[in-house]
Symmetry: C2
Subunit: 215 residues, 2 copies
Amino acid sequence: MDDVPIEDIPGLDAAAKALLQAASSPARAAAGTVLFRPGETCERLVLLAEGRVQVKTLSESGRELLLYQVRPGETCVLSFACLVGRRLYQAEGVCETDVAGRAIGRSTVLELMAVSPAFRERIIDVQSSRIYELIGLIDEVAFHRTESRLAGRLIELAGEDGVVHSTHQQLAQDLGTAREVISRRLKRLELLGLVEVERGRIVIREPARLRHLAM
Amino acid sequence: MDDVPIEDIPGLDAAAKALLQAASSPARAAAGTVLFRPGETCERLVLLAEGRVQVKTLSESGRELLLYQVRPGETCVLSFACLVGRRLYQAEGVCETDVAGRAIGRSTVLELMAVSPAFRERIIDVQSSRIYELIGLIDEVAFHRTESRLAGRLIELAGEDGVVHSTHQQLAQDLGTAREVISRRLKRLELLGLVEVERGRIVIREPARLRHLAM
DNA sequence: CCCCGAATGTGATCGAGGTCACAGACCGGG
DNA sequence: CCCGGTCTGTGACCTCGATCACATTCGGGG
């Protein structure tokens, strides 16, 4: 079962569907697959139907930092920028889960922008949100300490039950720091009674106080 | 002389000009004027005809960090994101020089997006470039030391003659650090023979080696 | 030519976070 | 139930950058 029905992609209008029918190809990838790496050129844009993709920068020393995630109905803004502006990727894209979508080339993207209001608005919407988020991220990285950023990330990741299923290593990679640093900060949060640290998961005990720390 | 002719704004098509004629108002501001601050709502978008605007984040402790500059023919992507997505500004916009442009409201922006291909493409283009730049900035702030960032900034600011007209304080604010740090780093670059530091200006002596440091 | 504000130089100190080097602890599979 | 890989805890150490507190120095306007 290789095909990805165009109907699976939310937020498209008739014009977009017609064009995709004619000029897109199904794309699937398993969790963990690297979709693109720094330095590569972008040949095609994927409209995501299901799954989640993480886009992260890499440092020379091997650390990483999560920039944003791409969700169903969205496209990767970096891919878009690289494809349209003929730029090189400066980040890495990794499938967080199994992923399905439809891939389109540069000319099709441009045509879609012209003929499909829904597609156009979606792109602009996603770009705007990402710009907003990226600026927030810059602010965090430049001016906020790790403890506060960790608190924020825990809140983002927590399920309804207040449980975060992540290892210290994963959190470190999300925040662009080292595992030891996360371990120590978590320990501190635990001493403060804000969380409980277990193997592979963190239970949030005091969401309110944690949220307060995050700002 | 208060008016700003629409002809002064580059990159518009007939449809855009017609709409602007009917639904935009002239906007002027002197160098140093603060156009928006964190926490404010965005009521209108300015299409820049001349001058330059700096957009920067502010930290609690009073430091700042330059996010990007808006130039003639462009719009501020943060303003756009805030206006369209009804979000609050998270940064500050300051006129770097005297500035002239035309201001439009939310509904006009949306209409322009719909009726003017040139405007639409311009927006998308600017958004894409900014996203690319912002990701680069995140990478720098997260993973590169001040010395390398300073080297990069000096190269950006240098004129044909290799002279940068900035005070240490200004450079510090561009890079999101403290003045003393810049002074010391500059001193080091001077010891290495890469630049000469004078009052209010820096002369680049070894562009190649400086560029090398910047990466 | 003097004076004041802006710009710069510098030492001392401090804290956050990065890095290294391990030691345990835990867990699922064989 | 044992073993190896993953995950976590921790001490030691170092570096960069932030901050404070000044001393200078420069340059232009009155």
